[in-house]
Amino acid sequence: MSTPLLSVRDLEVTFRLRGGLLRPTRLLRAVNGVSFDIAPGETLAVVGESGSGKSTIARAVMRLLEPSSGRIHLDGDDVTALKGEALRRIRPKLQMVFQDPYSSLDPSMIIADVVGEPLVVHGRARGADLERRVQGLLEHVGLGRYHMNRYPYEFSGGQRQRIAIARAIALEPKLLVLDEAVSALDVSTQNQILNLLEDLRSELGIAYLFISHDLGVVEHIADRVAVTYLGRIVEEGPAERIFSAPAHPYTEALLSAVPVPNPRIQRSRQRIVLPGDIPSPLAPPAGCPFHTRCPHVMDVCKTAMPAHTPIDGGGSAACFLHDTGVAGGTRRAS
C-alpha cells in the first residue's frame, strides 16, 4: 500500500473539567486509542451517536486542539507537534466544514471576503485576481457571482454550507474534514450537498473525513466507514462490507435504524432497539464499552476489553463474538 494521506495512531484526547468549590477536577476521555488511515482521494466516514467523540477527532486532526497522546501524520510528515508559523503553513492541505452553517460564517463579513479569506491570508491572490477566483469558487459550488456582496444572514442553511465548502476548497486542500456538514439540513438539501461533494471529489480528487451521526447519510459517499462508540472505534471496514455484513453489534443496531430500504438487509430486517443510554464518558464501563447495552453481552465482555479482530470482507471489529480465542467467538465469525 502507498503512504496514506492521513494517518492517525492511538489518538487520545482528554478534557480536564475544572471543578468547583465542592466538585473535584475530573478528566473526560473524549477520544481513546483511535487509529485510522485515509488514502489520497478516499472518503472515510466516521459514524456514531452524538457524544461519541467524532467532533473531537475532527478537531484533533485539524490541529484545533492538542491531543493528549498519539501521532498524526499528514502526507508522511508528523504534524502532531507543529505550532505557530509551521502549523499555519500546512493548514492549506487540510480544511474543514463545520456542522452549523449559521455559526461557522462570520456574520460581519460579506461572502466575497468569507470565500476569499483563505487566499488572502496565505498570500495566494489579491485584487482583481482574487475577485476572479472567488467568483470561480462560488460558481464551482453552484452559487452566482451576484452573491458576492451579500452577508451570510441573507442565505439559507444549504446555501451557507455551499459557501463554507467554497471557502474550504479555495486552497485546494488534499483533505476535507466535514463534521456533520449536512446534519443541520433537510433531506433534499442534504442530497444536493452530498451530490456537490461527490462532484468535487471526482473533479479535484480531495479525500474526505466525513463525519455523521447517521449511518444512512454516508452509504453512497463513503469508501470506508469507522463506527465510534464512547471515544473508541468499535468497527471499521469497506463501506460495502459494513452495510451488507456489519460485524459489531453496535453497527448492527445503527444499521437497523437506517430508514433507507436496502433489499439485502430488508429480508432479515428488524429494528434493534438498544436498552438504556450511552454511558457518561466520565465513567466509562469496564471491559467492552458497549457491554451495558449489547444484546449479545457475555461474561467476558464485562471484564476484558476486546481487541480489534480482522473481519472477512475487510476491516476489523472490536468484539469478543469475532475473537476466536474466546468462547462463543466462532458463532458469528463465518
Partner: protein, 295 residues
C-alpha cells in the same frame, strides 16, 4: 495589522456593512425621531450665537423672574436674562460634558476589557480585581472625592463620571470578546490558517463593536443625568458657564416665584436623556443578529 487593513480595503467590506445597517436602522421609527431630535439639538447648540433670540448673559433688571411670554418664550431668570437663550447655550455645555464623560469611559474601559476577554488567565484576573475594587466605592462619594481632589470644574466632574462609567464598558467588552472568541467562525478562521492578529482585527473586533454602540448611546444619557446632578450640587459647570443641571440648581432657589425657571431646562434634560436611550434601543435592534432563515 497592515495585512488585515489591506484585506479590508481590497474587498470593500466596510461600505456594505454600513449599507446593511442603514437599511435596518431606517425601520426603527422611534430611534429615527430620537436621532432627528439629537441632531437638531446639536445643530442648535453649535449655532446658538446665531439662533438664540438674546445674548444669554445680558441682564435686564427691570424684567426679572418673568413668566413665559411672546418676548421671552421661556421667561426670564433672577437677573432678567432670557431663559430660552440660556437653555440653548447650556445645551452646548451639557452635550459636550456627556461627550467628554463617554470618551473618557471608552478610553479607560475598552482596551483593558478587550485585553481581559482575549488574554484570560492571570491578566484577566488582575484587571477584574482592579475593576471590582473600583466598583465597590459608592459612586457619588467617589465622584465627590475625585472632584474634591481635582477641583470643581465641569471637565473634572466629567472625568469622575467617565471613571465611574468605565467598568461597564470594561465588562461589556470583556464578556463580548470572550463570547466572540468562542464562536465557531473564529475556530473556522484558525482552521484556514489565519494568524492571531488577523483573527483579532478581522473577526473579533468587528463583532464586538455593535454592542458598544448601543452602550455608548445609553451612557451619553446617563452621563448627561450625572452631569445635571453634579452641576445641580455646584460640583459641575461654574458661572458664567451654565449647563441644564446648573440652571435647574440655580432656578431651584426661586421655585416659588417662577417655576418655569426649572421646568424648561429640566424638560430639556429629560427629553434629551430619553432620546439617547431610545436611540440606543433602536441601535440594538438594528445591529442585532438577524433571525435565522430556514430553507
Amino acid at each position: 495589522m497592515s495585512e488585515a487593513a489591506a484585506g479590508l480595503e481590497q474587498l470593500g467590506a466596510s461600505e456594505s456593512a454600513r449599507r446593511r445597517f442603514l437599511r435596518r436602522f431606517r425601520k426603527q421609527r422611534p430611534a429615527l425621531y430620537a436621532l432627528g431630535f439629537l441632531v437638531l439639538l446639536a445643530l442648535g447648540a453649535l449655532f446658538a450665537p446665531w439662533v438664540a433670540p438674546y445674548d444669554p448673559l445680558t441682564q435686564n433688571l427691570d424684567r426679572v423672574l418673568e413668566s413665559p411670554s411672546w418676548d421671552h418664550w421661556f421667561g426670564t431668570d433672577e437677573l432678567g436674562r432670557d431663559v430660552a437663550s440660556r437653555t440653548l447655550f447650556a445645551a452646548r455645555i451639557s452635550l459636550m460634558a456627556a461627550f467628554q464623560a463617554v470618551l473618557i469611559a471608552l478610553v479607560i474601559g475598552v482596551p483593558p476589557g478587550l485585553l481581559a476577554g482575549l488574554a484570560g488567565g492571570w491578566v484577566d484576573n488582575l484587571i477584574m480585581r482592579f475593576t471590582d475594587a473600583l466598583m465597590a466605592f459608592p459612586p457619588l462619594i467617589l465622584a465627590v472625592a475625585i472632584v474634591a481632589a481635582l477641583g470643581p470644574s465641569l471637565t473634572n466632574a466629567m472625568i469622575a463620571v467617565g471613571i465611574l462609567l468605565s467598568p461597564t464598558f470594561l465588562r461589556l467588552m470583556r464578556g463580548t470578546a470572550m463570547a466572540v472568541a468562542h464562536e465557531t467562525y473564529v475556530e473556522a478562521a484558525r482552521s484556514i490558517g489565519c494568524s492571531q492578529g488577523w483573527i483579532i482585527v478581522r473577526h473579533i473586533l468587528p463583532n464586538v463593536i455593535s454592542p458598544l454602540f448601543v452602550q455608548i448611546s445609553v451612557f451619553a444619557g446617563v452621563a448627561m443625568l450625572a452631569e445635571a446632578g453634579l452641576s445641580f450640587l455646584g460640583l459641575g459647570a461654574q458661572p458664567p458657564d451654565s449647563s441644564w443641571g446648573a440652571m435647574v440648581g440655580r432656578g431651584f432657589r426661586y421655585i416659588s416665584l417662577s417655576p418655569s425657571l426649572i421646568v424648561f431646562p429640566g424638560l430639556a434634560i429629560a427629553v434629551t436623556v430619553l432620546a439617547f436611550y431610545v436611540l440606543g434601543d433602536g441601535l440594538r435592534d438594528a445591529l442585532g443578529r438577524e433571525v435565522r432563515r430556514e430553507d
